[in-house]
Amino acid sequence: MPTVEFKGKTFNVDEDGFIDDFNGWSREWVDYVKESEGISELTEEHWKVIDILQDYYKKNGIAPMVRILSKVTGFKLKYIYELFPSGPGKGACKMAGLPKPTGCV
């Protein structure tokens, strides 16, 4: 599994660039990934989405459904795509350190 070093931190990532362990997440990870996800500057709204994803994952063991993410953040799906151009799964979940989405994706 390849490793990434950034600002003194080391992350193990898979071939799609998801980190291997939620517990290995740190704020540097978000800084590192943002460019490859087409985000130049992280705003409070980005962090709101990331925080909510992490809280939901810690509490429930799964990523929230898109409708739940929209309802809790107050961001419509269109706006979530404006924040995270790759979308809530590939973009926001990857930055939040959640496991890679599975199923017929």
Binding site: D20, D21, F22, G38, Y57, N60, G61, I62, A63, P85, L98, P99, K100, T102, G103, C104
Partner: protein, 379 residues
């Protein structure tokens, strides 16, 4: 404006959808759109449609392997340029159709198509797939590209179509016979509603990768993926001695569907000896005479015998031959089996009836058992 990775959203074009199909209609089709009077099948693989004004369009249908290189597509284009004014189409069963507007153009097109062979000797463009024959096999990805298959797709399809090639180029069946393949019971495609269906099947429960399951899986999803509730949350000891959140599989309740592996990469279940093929028959999607039907399991297991799957090709050949010899004109395989009774289907085809074929999935299983004294003695 080349793509600039530092500004991914600059000059980004999106939500434009597919091209309008009208851009690609041959002139004779565009002119007579919605004005067709009748059609005939002139011979296997060749159709003529006659428009109200008398215009005709002749269609030559040829088999396609579905999985194609760009050089093969270029060859298809070269044929279309040479004979059809640069127009062609693909069918919903992944055959290729070349259309010409005059009967005199049909023979040269056919001659050209049949003259083209693969280096190994196979036809590049076999003509057929019309009427009451056996047309192309709708199939999936198999070992070529998917991560959940229990069998291969392209390989099995090639073996079966080689065996049934004469039925592709002729029309001697009572009605058309649709064969489909799916490499796992996700059933991508048409296996659940085909006259004959080939389905990849596992026979062993998943293994649990204790080292990574708590990291790569959303465990509640793996639990909810199970149709028989064989999976429950559990703590396990990891190889390094720490305890981790994971799942436990009740192997007695597992029927090897593989849904949990779809949701959770740490629960693989593919197995060289365990995996194989299930054969289903009797499905249809049309409403002609009888309502659409689901296909039913008639062979519980055939081995993955690469590269030619002889057990599978033999079994399908046997079913096709008995159906072709016994069914009435226009009768689809499922209609024939229901008319003669499934016990007679098993007697005539010589397939073994095993306990695997008796439905045991939830309340609806009951309705598949026989609540009547009407049956025929067999054997």
């Amino acid at each position: 404006m080349p793509y600039d990775p530092s500004k991914p959203l600059q000059d980004r074009i999106t939500d434009i959808g597919p091209k309008n199909y009208e851009e690609f209609l041959p002139p004779v089709i565009k002119k007579n759109f919605g004005k067709w009077d009748y059609h005939e099948i002139l011979e296997p693989g060749v159709l003529v449609h006659v428009a109200e004004g008398g215009d005709k369009v002749f269609t030559v249908r040829v088999g396609g392997a579905r999985l194609m290189s760009i050089s093969h597509i270029r060859e298809i284009m070269e044929i279309a340029d040479k004979h059809c004014g640069g127009f062609l189409r693909f069918t919903t069963r992944n055959n290729i159709e070349f259309m010409v507007d005059d009967q005199s153009k049909v023979e040269p097109l056919k001659k050209d198509l049949l003259s083209r062979k693969q280096p190994g000797g196979g036809f590049k463009f076999p003509i057929g797939g019309t009427g009451a024959g056996i047309t192309n096999i709708v199939h999936t990805q198999g070992w070529l590209h998917c991560h959940t298959p229990a069998t291969d797709a392209s390989g099995v399809v090639k073996a079966v179509m080689d065996d049934l090639f004469d039925e592709f180029t002729s029309m001697r069946m009572p009605a058309h016979v649709r064969i489909s393949l799916a490499c796992c019971l996700n059933m991508c495609g048409a296996v659940h509603c085909s006259d004959i269906a080939i389905l990849g099947y596992h026979r062993k429960p998943p293994m649990i990768d204790a080292e990574v399951i708590d990291k790569v899986c959303e465990i509640p999803l793996a639990i909810a993926a199970c149709p028989t509730a064989a999976i429950k949350p559990a703590k396990i000891k990891k190889p390094d001695g720490t305890e981790a959140q994971a799942v436990a599989v009740n192997n007695d309740r597992c029927m090897f569907c593989g849904n949990c592996y779809t949701m959770c990469p740490a629960m693989p279940l593919a197995d060289a000896e365990g995996d194989g093929i299930v054969i289903m028959v009797g499905g249809k999607v049309s409403n002609r005479i009888s309502a659409p039907k689901f296909s039913k399991v008639v062979v519980a297991f055939l081995p993955n015998n690469v590269p030619r799957w002889p057990e599978t090709t033999d079994c399908i050949r046997k079913i096709v031959e008995v159906y072709a010899g016994d069914a009435r004109k226009y009768e689809r395989l499922g209609e024939w089996a229901e008319r003669i009774g499934w016990e007679k289907f098993f007697e005539k085809t010589g397939l073994e009836f095993t306990h695997h074929l008796i439905d045991d999935f939830r309340d609806p299983a009951y309705y598949t058992w026989r609540q009547t004294s009407q049956f025929k003695f067999t054997g």
